[in-house]
Symmetry: C2
Subunit: 373 residues, 2 copies
């Protein structure tokens, strides 16, 4: 006589006991046993478009629920060659737009079943060093918001890992890119300020290894040169509040007076510069000095600042990057695309944007610059 057919519940209970005894994990075999089907049937039940009968599906799902079964992604990826992970390389410098970027990326990737594996970088140049780790994890793709040397890009090709470079333009045109045109942004800002009569510019740039800061600075310099204005005075900072203040003082000391306008490589430095001018040095902004930022992070539109700056459409860019990496994962062979976004000018109230009604030739904020040099 065969034993009475046990209920799924009873079968599950005994299976759980056995699992605990052997301290094994719950596998699809266990589920199959409890559901009274084959392992492959179980596997199919967890694959979206597979062909399973309603009844088996129900039995399997019930058994799975009773056993707390979830497919093991590691085992799955071994055979599917997909880990459903996208690595994101990020420099600390991105600091203030870090949250926006990451949440937007995740939001876009999650519907595709992909998750973000984070690789924060202490410096842009550190990128190369984390690559080894990256290959091990077999991520499906990488979004790099960090500078990659040509050798690193080559590695991506050898390892056949899709790569999207974020907010930086590499010389190599064959890499997929989503970015603002930082050089154009620099030009635009310089042009606007020059049109308002500013002549002597100062730049508080980012640290030397930042491609972004350099591109912006070049844009400004180019534009000024084309307009026949004196070259900007440049000091470098570390993208932080303190650097903005220090940068301002250094610029004043070096120039022997207050320049007409100061462009900072990011908003936090601009805010530092602004606070230092107003609260520490008693300089009126924009009365005596125009200050502009770049990046438009949230604090820049707080009432106390209302910074003149350029807004990068970060959320859109993040979405674009997510889209692109997903497409690339599906079809690795598609031709490289450089998706460029325009920064949007934010007038704010820290820069004079129109020619002063009086003294059009020599703005009063320019204290005999030539006499001193």
């Amino acid at each position: 006589m065969s034993p009475p057919k046990r209920t799924i519940e009873a079968s599950a209970a005994s299976q759980i006991a056995e699992l605990a005894a052997q301290s094994r994990r719950v596998t699809s075999y266990d589920v199959a046993l409890v559901a009274g089907v084959s392992q492959s049937a179980v596997s199919r039940c967890f694959k979206p478009g597979a062909s399973v009968s309603k009844t088996t599906f129900a039995r399997v799902m019930k058994a799975a629920a009773l056993l707390d079964y979830v497919p093991n992604a590691a085992a799955r990826s071994l055979i599917t060659r997909r880990t459903n992970m996208v690595a994101v390389l990020l420099t600390n410098r991105a600091n203030l737009y870090y949250p926006e970027l990451l949440t937007e990326l995740s939001k876009q990737l999650t519907p595709h079943g992909k998750r973000v594996l984070l690789f924060p970088l202490a410096s842009e140049s550190e990128a190369a060093r984390v690559l080894g780790d990256l290959w091990q994890f077999q991520v499906d793709g990488v979004i790099a918001a960090a500078h990659l040397p040509a050798t690193a890009v080559a590695e991506f090709k050898r390892h056949r890992v899709p790569l999207v470079v974020f907010n930086r333009l590499l010389e190599d045109l064959s890499v997929h890119t989503v970015s603002c045109d930082h050089r154009a942004a620099g030009r635009m800002l310089a042009a606007r300020l020059a049109a308002a009569g500013h002549r002597q510019f100062g730049i508080i740039s980012g640290s030397k290894d930042s491609v972004v800061a350099i591109a912006r600075q070049q844009g400004v310099a180019e534009q000024l040169a084309e307009l026949g204005l004196p070259p900007p005075l440049v000091v470098t900072g570390e993208f932080d509040y303190h650097s903005g203040a220090t940068g301002l003082k250094t610029l004043i000391a070096r120039h022997g007076g207050i320049p007409d306008a100061i462009i900072c490589a990011n908003d936090v430095m601009a805010i530092g510069c602004l606070d230092c001018a107003r609260h520490e040095l008693g300089i009126s902004v924009p009365g005596q000095l125009s200050v502009a930022g770049l990046d438009a992070v949230e604090p820049s539109n707080w009432l106390s600042y209302n910074l003149t700056t350029l807004h990068q459409p970060m959320a859109q860019m993040a979405a674009a990057a997510a889209q692109q990496i997903c497409r690339l994962i599906e079809r690795p062979e598609v031709a490289a695309e450089r998706q460029l976004f325009d920064a949007q000018f934010i007038e704010g109230a820290t820069a004079r944007l129109h020619l002063p009604a009086t003294a059009p030739a020599a703005p009063f904020s320019l204290p005999q610059p030539l006499a001193i040099m």
Copy 2:
């Protein structure tokens, strides 16, 4: 006649050709073949403390380098039962300390060979929904900076996934926790302000599902009650700049005048409140109104604000959480520990912290509160 013994280089080249032809991945077998050793020898070479002779090691490493071989983490984790990934659950609300938290966590985890897999949450309550994904990825542990319902905590136990709850105190004492004592922080702030003669308090709290905001608010209310002061007026916000401004206006309307002191559930709201008071309503801070924040994110110490607030030792807390999850991964059975950190009071300049020399009994900032009610 046996063929002449080929060099490693030559052997590697032909192996690469074969791999490309079959579009296979590079495996330890390929390396073994090229290096002229067994596959297990290759495996051992990539395991830190294994016993391999110098010469085999050298041959293997050379072959591996030529082939661009890296061990496949998915395959490895299948047998070692370690994915070397730690999931981090994070609400968007954490916004401003997001970068600090994530970089610190990563910094602490990287030396242990672990990486952060990110799970951003749209709301605290969304946590439960991402858990399914989480189990699939087989992460070694989870750091949750989000509220977890008891059912979710139970799931962690069933799945035997180590959990550290970050900056929230669950009632369940059996969960490992690293947090500030938000209630104590609220009490401390209330006590300091009350000692300076403030009597009518307003609170701009966070959205209703935030455990942290609620705890802080309770602390304030408790302390005021113990001191025999009137209960605080409470409005809720969304932890953002705009909420601070709106909150202030609502409080004034509801109270029929300016309260003595306003405590905001985070610094960004405090800054919004401050800007609104000063720039929009023309209220002198701290002359007519004291404003205090909680959280001490970076902008709070910018010169324009210099906010009175409480600083959470975020970096230390992150480090502690990383340590704890690592220990827990090694020894899952250790007893639960609640690691509490004290918030540090930052005086700032937006709250009056001493009794006014004149009119000690009824501060001038309190316009006949009882007459109106």
